[in-house]
Symmetry: C2
Subunit: 175 residues, 2 copies
């Protein structure tokens, strides 16, 4: 029930088409959210039907038309209501942690290999996030408002990758 809100946030930052949103969800917003294009299209349609969004067809040169969505006044209210509502502490699910716990019931070396692969992947992401911080936020102390929020969430992405690399390193070192 929260993809709607993720889309409202993304469209509030900048109006976009379904495919553009799908791409954006693989990037900045994607640190803490993810969605496939089908899911996005379906929900966009429902939100438009509910009057939360306005659409306009945009002709493009060399490409098919696109439908650009923007947040309506009603959508703004939905967004504000959601922001004010309590947020449950989300339950976690990590298949990898489950495998780490169960390693002795199968091929322990195979499990180690997967943890090693994930460690490399999270190290790559961590480096990418660090680069984003350097390039996009050279002077964090000067930030305010939405820019500061986005920077601090990116910091959360950095910290999350540090959690993964730290824990996986600890496991691989001791087990």
């Amino acid at each position: 029930m929260a993809l709607e809100h993720a889309l409202l946030v993304a469209l509030r930052e900048r109006p976009a088409s379904g495919l553009e949103l799908a791409r954006r969800f693989d990037k900045s917003i994607g640190f803490f959210w993810h969605a496939t294009h089908q899911q996005i299209y379906r929900v966009l349609g429902r939100m438009e039907g509910d009057g939360w969004l306005t659409v306009r067809t945009v002709a493009q040169t060399g490409r098919p038309d696109k439908k650009e969505y923007a947040v309506s006044a009603a959508g703004e209210r939905v967004l504000a209501d959601w922001l004010a509502a309590d947020t449950p502490v989300e339950p976690l699910r990590s298949e990898l942690a489950l495998k780490a716990r169960a390693a002795s019931y199968g091929d322990r070396e195979a499990v180690r290999r997967q943890l090693t692969d994930h460690l490399a992947e999270h190290e790559t992401r961590l480096a990418a996030y660090h680069q984003m911080v350097e390039e996009q936020y050279p002077d964090p102390h000067a930030l305010t408002g939405a820019d500061l929020d986005r920077y601090l969430v990116l910091r959360g992405g950095v910290r999350l990758e540090e959690f993964w690399t730290g824990w996986l390193s600890e496991y691989l070192e001791h087990a």
Copy 2:
């Protein structure tokens, strides 16, 4: 598609009934997994039908009978195969991070309040995990095999809560 495997792990550690599993999933295994009892009952039934589990009805004093499930030989094979299979890096979803990013589109103070609540909750969990480490693993260096795995996953729980408390503190301090 992985709740099956979580149940195999839990039942491999110790045979149990549906309700006992539901309770266990709120505790140790629950650091990195979660499931409701309905979901558990349904999947247990399917797994039994697939021959992954064996059942025996256990009479209890002062309570209704329970159906105690255990992993069959076929279930052992499924478990081993799963442990050897690649694990995709799981996409993350955090409604709270989304709200942090969107704070300027609504009542910023209300968002801060939620982050503060979550910070308190994660500090509580962190303290509980630390206590578990002290009580259950007084001498980590002596651990091996499945015990060591369980300890290291609990360490992951500690590190994850440290991520949350660290990030939320940073956000609240600067935004």
